[in-house]
Amino acid sequence: MPRIRRILNQRDFLPSKRYFLPLIFLQEYDAPWPTPKASLRMWKSVFNSGLLEGATMAKIDKSITEIAEEEQPKPAETPDRFTRRFFLSQLGTASLAVTTAPLLHSAPVQEPEPVTEAIPGADVPGAVPMVLNINGKEHHIALEPRVTLLDALRENLQLPGTKKGCDHGQCGACTVHVNGRRVNSCLSFAIMHQGDKITTIEGLAQNGDLNPVQAAFLEHDGFQCGYCTSGQIMSAAALLKEPCGQDDAAVRECMSGNICRCGAYNNIVAAVQSARRGA
């Protein structure tokens, strides 16, 4: 993936070479040249991946719009219906080209459920209405009291950037900010957070510009598979406002609540130190 990331972030890459990226993706999987529709799917998934810098994202956005207009998508197709989660759910075989074929021939998106209840979730027995303030936006929702903040974010509020690693407060992948402080969202019920200001990884970037901590993680290659990364970034962003010693050993201790199976720790520490110097 570093090759793709480097290519994406070259400023003169788009829009003329907009079909090339899917080729690179598919080369990794040994599949043939993509059709324009398959190319559109790939671009959308890359766009949603969070891998890209602001200016490049703007160019891709424009490119997606152009391809979409060429292909005249069905009315049911809208960019925000095509989520990363849906794309990954289609990956049942070794080659992406094979999996894009079903996308071409069948309705690629689910029909939206008819909304009959006033508040989302109110039809679930035992659900209690609540208001959650997340990334500056108020969400009116009904959830059972036993729904954790983590599950509410991922399953009910379409904010799957926060990850479930262990679900028991032992890994830190679920780290979010509550009133500016980092916490494990897996060990708290959503209903306990009415009136709190919650920030997730989706809320760190402002106006399309990456948060300095996000930029530092990109610059220092602070991740491999990426699964712990949103927790690492949220932890590091909160760390900037906590007392922590100057040296790398102190950063390691202050970041000890976030574990990484890929072992990207050295680069994570470098990214955090870089963000602290710049902050």
Binding site: P145, R146, D167, H168, V183, L187, S256
Partner: protein
């Protein structure tokens, strides 16, 4: 996780009312123990009362020069408090050695005292457990018991108490203040915790519906030093195999007053008056420290997989005493 009814208490009285009026009601503060155990179906309350809005978040001096810590003070706030860092250093060091920054932001003073054992069999409901169900048996006795206790154990339960903060508070002779059906009462921390005996399901003196409101620390003489040393397999984010909290005041090279507590080895945070008696009035040197450690572990009963803890705890206490008396 089983479903439950949820309510929020805005005042101590309404919390007590909610806790008293129904059975199987638990208070939730940080949730770092309760929700963890609810996911494992070890805790199955029918009702939960959220006490996060209670006005128990202050750290303030007491009239006698000690410290009064509200039950809802978060662990990270307590650890970074200036008075705690300077005058009750062992408490700050103990807190910062425990858990992770995220957990310390959530966990509260009251909740930390009430955290429950990490025994694998307690946490796994497919195993019988005398702590969960008295009389059902203790699989740890013949099982994998590396993390279990060597002090205060019984034939019914050998589970260790995992808190670091509680060990420091033991050495500081903290007092727990409780409100309940019968009004207010104050219990010294060493009397707050119960040995398992034949009733390992009862870990402390709280009655159902009781609420810890604050913890007080007595004042310490000027020049008192304190230190916490925690030994474990990993460098961080892990419970202790053995730990020691020492509060000491010296007169020249003589130990005038010392308080010692051990962690990771007892079924409750382990205050060691044997070690204290072996040291008071003695010269502060390594031989005397080692003798005190021998006294502390004299009654230790090792399990099949944790015999190393006996020597480890002795060296831990010796090293802690060395560190704290040498500090400038």
């Amino acid at each position: 996780m089983e479903a439950f009814q949820f309510s929020q208490a805005k005042t101590v009285n309404s919390a007590l009312e909610a806790g008293r009026s129904q059975t199987e009601t638990r208070f939730v503060a940080g949730g770092t123990t309760l929700i963890d155990l609810m996911k494992l179906n070890v805790e199955t309350p029918k009702r939960i009362v959220d006490i996060n809005s209670l006005p128990l978040t202050q750290i303030e001096p007491t009239a006698d020069g000690g410290l009064k810590i509200g039950a809802m003070v978060r662990n990270s706030d307590l650890a970074h408090d200036e008075t705690v860092q300077q005058r009750y250093t062992v408490l700050s060091e103990a807190l910062l050695s425990g858990a992770s920054p995220q957990l310390r932001n959530m966990a509260t003073t009251g909740g930390n005292l009430l955290q429950r054992t990490r025994c694998y069999y307690f946490r796994d409901t497919t195993y019988p457990c005398n702590k969960r169900e008295p009389g059902s048996g203790c699989p740890a006795l013949d099982g994998f018991n590396r993390i279990h206790g060597i002090l205060g154990t019984s034939e019914h339960c050998i589970a260790t108490h995992p808190s670091d903060m509680a060990v420091a508070m033991m050495a500081l002779e903290a007092v727990v203040h409780i409100q309940g059906a019968n009004g207010e009462r104050s219990v010294p921390l060493n009397d707050f915790y119960l040995l398992p005996g034949s009733t390992p399901n009862r870990e402390n003196v709280l009655a159902p519906g009781d609420l810890i409101t604050y913890v007080t620390l007595p004042s310490l003489a000027n020049g008192t030093r304190s230190h916490y040393l925690k030994l474990r397999d990993r460098a961080s984010y892990e419970f202790a195999l053995a730990s020691a909290a020492v509060v000491v005041s010296l007169n020249g090279n003589r130990i005038q007053r010392v308080r010692i507590a051990l962690g990771g080895v007892g079924t409750k945070p382990w205050r060691s008056m044997e070690a204290e008696h072996a040291l008071e009035g003695r010269e502060a040197n390594e031989n005397n420290f080692r003798a005190a450690a021998e006294a502390a572990l004299k009654g230790a009963k090792p399990q099949h997989d944790n015999a190393f803890k006996v020597e480890l705890a002795k060296r831990c206490l010796t090293r802690t005493l060395t560190n704290v008396t040498q500090a400038a």
